[in-house]
Structures are given as structure tokens and as C-alpha cells.
Symmetry: C2
Amino acid sequence: MHTAVFGLGSMGYGVAQSILKAGDTTYGFDVMSSQVEKFQSEGGSTESLIDAAGILDCVIVVVLNAEQTESVLFGEQGVVPNLKPGCVVIACATVSPEFARDMESRCKKHGVHYLDAPISGGSVKAAQGELSVLASGTGDAFNAARPALDAMAATVFELGKEAGAGSAMKSVNQLLAGVHIAAMAEALTFGITQGVKPEQFLEVISQCAGSSWMLENRAPHIVEGDYTPHSAVNIWLKDLGIVLDIASKAEFDAPVTTAALQQFTKASEQGFGLEDDAAVAKVYARDAGIKLPGE
Amino acid sequence: MHTAVFGLGSMGYGVAQSILKAGDTTYGFDVMSSQVEKFQSEGGSTESLIDAAGILDCVIVVVLNAEQTESVLFGEQGVVPNLKPGCVVIACATVSPEFARDMESRCKKHGVHYLDAPISGGSVKAAQGELSVLASGTGDAFNAARPALDAMAATVFELGKEAGAGSAMKSVNQLLAGVHIAAMAEALTFGITQGVKPEQFLEVISQCAGSSWMLENRAPHIVEGDYTPHSAVNIWLKDLGIVLDIASKAEFDAPVTTAALQQFTKASEQGFGLEDDAAVAKVYARDAGIKLPGE
């Protein structure tokens, strides 16, 4: 099997490593040449895209958004027109269902399968080949993608036979995940104003009805005062922005999501955009004049 | 032991049953005489409050709010002035930390211990004696309350030596629980506009980073179209109202909570106040012109 991974950021690099480990001839491409060289030094193939495109069985696109996905697939040096028929594109970025359907249709014209396959789980699980994939596409797309999915994912949700269903579920998940991070930050800092210590907040609330997956995962970052970006504040400007774009087109009013996005936007404006998303708590702390652990 | 339970609603009735099961002489009081008679027919003592007050070891107050708690303890027929010294009041309503400290101080003047002890877990766990209690108070208050806590609770969080800490943690938990219900409703209905079926939402998201305790507990009500009120919409008008009152006094801005409360308020205004709190989804469904299961 010949597989190319486009995008060697925190998620894509892990995906590329997983594919390599599974024994495929694996090509890594990124705008940052240092990432490409690093991957080649670990065993990635050194051929150029022009030379490799025609023999690829699978193309995995792990970039930031729809714009970058379109550029990789159909831009000036877009790969799809050079792929052989029967090749599959596994598209992992968070995009709108409409965009995913458009990409599927354009790939089809070249005889290329398209799997709408947003991923979830973070960079650690990406490196371990244990992502969750929210996938939809034709049976042929699933069949062609199966070896790569087996290598990169612990769980593959098969959500339908058309592109769009995977992206729809991903946007639903991102809505909740983003709101839950902001709500955790709001509750933790509110607690501080009432004498609740952050470590006590984490210990008690994680065992109560107020708990969430995100609370258990992110509140420890605030308790430890460690804002190393496992997932950055700015990711939520992008992802909740996509959610609200889709909602707006459907004339769907999402006031809780809107409130959460405002807090992430403030965090970015206050200079925390590249910190871990738990740093949204700093917005609340500044507003309320309280200190977080480590400050 | 002689124990009185004030408030025989969905939570208080279960607490009274648990105390009775543990073998105490148990008195149940409520403004609704039918509830009192029902409890007496199950083994509750039939003596009047006037006759019983002086021999009580423990008074458990499971009413709706601070106003009712104050009325039970210090109103016209308030029980505290008639209690014997060393008796303990276990106050379970969601109230402000400030109110809890005031009650503790007023009880102390009568030689009565006060345990600030908001409860969590719902009516089913109340009836099973398996509540979670977020408690704070003096060592003497905990000692005097211990037999009752053992009978009514699976978990007792001991949060400090002064009243107020329990109520502070409870308000933090309610902030999150209320926001998570509204966020679940927002995400589930947003999903419907994108072709995500409610049962698929529940199956997939409960395994993803967007999950929460409340999502796993309440989304099934929407999937089944069953709005039997385990916890009613109107409870959140009260509890999120208390949270925002406390926040306002601390000059703490809670925009995500504010957005969630607005949705519960709309639900109440649209006539769903006495339905299960998952009925907040009906507000979103009406706004977006979509149908929920069972509609």
C-alpha cells in the first residue's frame, strides 16, 4: 500500500506515524519542510508528490480547515487530478457537511473515493493510532480506506453512505466540547469567588452530576497551572465558528454556543490564543480579579 | 433516635423513607397534608410537631429554597427555638453560602448544630438512600448528623468546618449541570437540522469528548419523547437564578450560565415548566421548526 498524509501538525504527524508503523510506504507532506524532513528521517518516503501521486492508494488529509483541504485536493498543485482511479481520500479536518458533499462529488469525477472522516481524540491518541473517526461515505470509500482506518483509529463510527454525515456529527461534538470547556472555566472561577479551591472543585465535581468529559480532561490543566497547548484556544475560534456558520445557514439559533465562543474570542484577544484551551479560565479570572493556580 | 423531615416532595419523601428504614422514630412534615398522611401510613410517627420538637435529635430540611428553609427553622411556627440543645439541623435546599452561614449562626444561639448539606442525585437515589451530600459544618454538627447521613447518602463530601462551603460547591455543580442540559438540547436539535438522528446523537456523542453526565442522563428522555418530570424545567429557573444571584453579588460575570438560564426561562414561558428539564429542547425545536421524537 502507498499512502500519503497531508498535514504533519500535532494530529497529522501522529496519523502518519501510525500508517508507517502498519507497514505502508508512507509519504508525509506539509508546508513546513522541517516537519517533512523529520518524518522522512523516521522512515517516511522521500519521493516528491509529483512522482508519487499516480501510485497512491490512499490520501489522508489532516489539515486545519475546509480552505486548506480544498487547496490540498484541488488547488494549483492539487493532488486529486493526479490520483489513479479507486484511490481514496480520507478527509479529517472539521468542515461543514455541505463542503464534504461538494468534495465527494468533485473527487467522484476523477474516479476517486471520498471518506468524510473528521477525527477526535487529541495528539496523544493520534500518535498511538487510537483516534476516534466519525466517518461517512460509500461502501467503496470505506473498503478502500479500511487499512488506513485500522492503523489510525481505535473506534470508527460508520454514520452513513454519503459524505456530510461524519462532518455533521463532528460539528455536534465540537459544539458540546467547546461549550463544556467554557462552562468548566466559568464554574471553576465562580467557585473560587465562593471559596471553592480548584483542586477541590476537580475532586468533587468530577464525581457529581456537573461532570463532563472535558471537565475531567481540562480542569487538571488549571489546577496544575499548566497551559501547554494540547489543544489551543484558537482551535475553538475556528471550530465553534464553523458550528455557528452551519447553524446560521440552517437558521438555527445557538445562544449557549455563541456565549462560549465569545469567551474563547476574548481569550484570544487577551493574548492566550496559542495556550491550551483551558486558558479560557484566565478571561474569567481577569474579569473577576481573582488568581488561578500558578499566577 | 428521633428525626423529623420537613418537606415531603420528590426528594424529601425519599429521605424520610431512608431514615425510617434505618430504624429511627421518624416524623414527616409538609404543607400538603396528603403527603404527611401517606408517610404516616408507611410507618411515620403521628405526633404533632409541637409535641415532638423537644425530643428530636435531628431535623432534616428538604424544601425548595432559602425562603422555605428560613420559614421552617425560624418562621412563625419555626422549629429551632423548640429544639433541645445538641440537636442538629441538616439543611438540604440549594441556597447561597451567605444564607447558610446566617442560618448556622442563628441556630448556634439556640445551642443547635447546623450542617450545610445540599443534596444531589435525584428522587430515585433519594428513595434508595444513595444521595450525594455536599456538606460543611463543625465537627459537632457532623457527629450529630452522622446516623442520618449514613441512612440517606451513598457519598458525603466533607467540604469544610463552616457552613457555606457545601452550598458554594452545590451552586458550582448546579451551574454546570444546568448548562450541560441546555447545551445537550442545543447540540441535539442542531444535529437534527444537519440530519443527525437523536438516537445516533446519543449513541455516538456519549462515547466522544462532547459527553457529559447530564447528556447521558437526559438525552434518552428526548430520544424516547418522554418528559415525565424527574427534575422539572422550573427547578433550573430557581437553581440557575440562585447561581446568578450569588455571582452578581461577587461581581462575577457568567455569560454561558446566563444564556442557559434564558433557554429554561423560554421553556417555562412556552408552558413546559412542569415537564422534565430535557423539555428545554422543545424551545430549540420550535425556534428551528423541527420535530422531536414523539411529536
